[in-house]
Amino acid sequence: MSYILGRIGQAVIVLAIAFTAAFVLLQALPGDALLIKFESPESGLSPDQIALLRDSLGANIPIWQQFFDTLGGFLVGDFGYSVQSGTPVSVIIASALPNTLVLATSAFVVAIVLAVALAVLAQLSWLPWLRTMLRSLPSLFISVPVFWLGIVLIQVFSFRLGWLPVINPGPIEGLIMPVAALALPIAAPMAQVLIRSIDDVLTQPFIAVVRSKGASEWWILSRNVARNAVLPALTIAGLLLGELISGAVITETVFGRAGIGRATEQAVTNQDAPVLQAIVVISAAIFVLVNLLVDLLYPLLDPRLKTIATVNA
């Protein structure tokens, strides 16, 4: 129990620091974005009008009070207003998030399927050259930039082969290439870790014992290796979530899809700090939550950890 509470406590601390860092970096440090936006001569506003604007947007409140106001807002889902358009950030995020979630979730599922399939094939294929080839595939895809992979896919499948349209595709058709471009570079490190941990488990003495009982390679892999090898892979899958979000941003740009990626791009270009801050904090929160779940799942998969967790309690 105290293991669980400890992990939750850690997660809360990490989130609090992340929020503070994002606040300091994006809101406190750059002075205020309002000045950049309205003080330039092109805005055509008089100093009085600017002062009025600053007042109405709350820019004159002391920084620590702003901090707690922002924090309070974040806790109830109020992320403030976009400096650029004046729309509530929560509206921008709410309209962008579903698209990105669909893309990221499908890519994650595809990546897991690809990684597991590759790891199993690399283990069971009896031809040495095929084994070598399958084992070197992940290191190749780890080295491929997501955006370039997207472009190459468009080039081959849209322009050369004409199989998938880039302009106004259907909802499913439009998802195939972005998912592929996002999933492949995520699947690669997953497969690498999976292959390595399967190799490691196979060198364990208990596998030799199972083999001595007359078990086939498939029996060994499915009934004895799998559950042991999945533990490190699970950790990596959690950590790759960050890569998934980064990749989603880039993929959306390449394929011109609406979503968090495009919102981020616009926020950066316009130096729209509140939007970016919200995106950063929400991403961090998702990351922390998922990895917390992974950590809490671990004792269920590995009985050794369950004992440690209760002994420490």
């Binding site: 992340a18 994006l26 080295s143 060198t203 890569e243 880039i250």
Partner: protein, 286 residues
């Protein structure tokens, strides 16, 4: 007298698989030669490409690869090979700064956390968790918003994203080495905390960190290209690889070489860096 220790005999079918991975020095040599070529491009671009990377010959626009233009030309008639060669210095230097940043700060944090332990360790590791929690691209973009656009800014922004990896590895390594008998033996033979740390712990934990540095060099190149592609890196007309791919997107239907070739150069560079990283960690294990 056979002076050997009692251990298990040569074995397990898996060790042969491992050996197979190691038994391909050709790839390692190829990776080293390729990286050497990249460095040569960066140091003496004029020696390898005679054209102008910035100003093109307008009449030569959008030519496919040929003997005269190995990598083809872009819309304004600039030779793509020349641009790739001149672009290497930008990517390599930025990646190098980024890795050094991560290496110095990350390893420093890990070393302190792993050797001092206690509260300091807990605090430093929570900070590292934060760096890990924010997706690398968003972290880089936040830094760029604060620091502004430009090469050094990109280098720092990318470097910060690798601090967490260096810190975690360095801490784990320091803790692993500190538990070794030879470290205790060094204390037993009169070593002080600092001398044992410098003479035994640091050198023995360093090799995996160096291997990670090579790996992160590849990752940094990918991140720099991505930032360049999104338009937050070097401004046009700099021949930055990611930016070149972005510029080539407009001609994707007609001129495949504008996007494909710079991309291949990026992939090969990252592959080479990864191969060298693997070689370092394998040598350490052997």
């Amino acid at each position: 007298m056979s002076d050997t220790t009692r251990t298990s005999e040569p074995s397990t079918r898996r060790s042969s698989v491992r050996r197979a991975g190691r038994a391909r020095p050709i790839l390692l040599v190829a990776a080293a030669v390729y990286l050497a070529l990249m460095v040569a491009w960066a140091v003496l671009p004029g020696l390898f490409a005679h054209g102008d990377p910035i100003v093109g010959v307008a009449t030569d626009g959008l030519q496919a690869p040929s003997a005269a233009h190995w990598f083809g030309t872009d819309a304004t008639g600039r030779d793509m090979y020349t641009r790739v060669v001149f672009g290497s210095v930008h990517t390599l230097v930025t990646a190098l700064i980024a890795v050094l940043f991560g290496l110095v700060f990350g390893t420093g944090i890990g070393l302190v956390a792993g050797s001092v332990r206690g509260v300091v360790d807990a605090v430093l590791m929570r900070l590292v968790d934060v760096l890990l929690a924010v997706p690398s691209l968003l972290l880089s973009l936040s830094i760029i918003i604060v620091l502004g656009f430009g090469t050094t800014q990109v280098a720092i922004a990318v470097g910060i994203t690798s601090v967490a990896a260096f810190a975690r590895l360095a801490r784990a390594e320091v803790m692993r080495v500190r538990a070794m008998d030879y470290v205790e033996a060094a204390f037993a033979s009169g070593g002080s905390f600092v001398s044992v740390l410098l003479r035994h712990v640091l050198p023995n934990s360093l090799t995996p960190v160096i291997a990670l540095a090579a790996l992160q060099f590849g990752t940094a190149i990918l991140s720099i290209a991505a930032l360049g592609f999104l338009g937050y890196g070097a401004p046009p007309p700099t021949p930055e690889w990611g930016l070149m791919i972005a510029e080539g997107r407009n001609y994707i239907a007609t001129s495949w070489w504008l996007t494909t070739i710079p991309g291949v150069v990026v992939v090969l560079t990252v592959l080479a860096a990864n191969r060298i990283s693997t070689a370092i960690s394998e040598r350490n294990r052997a």
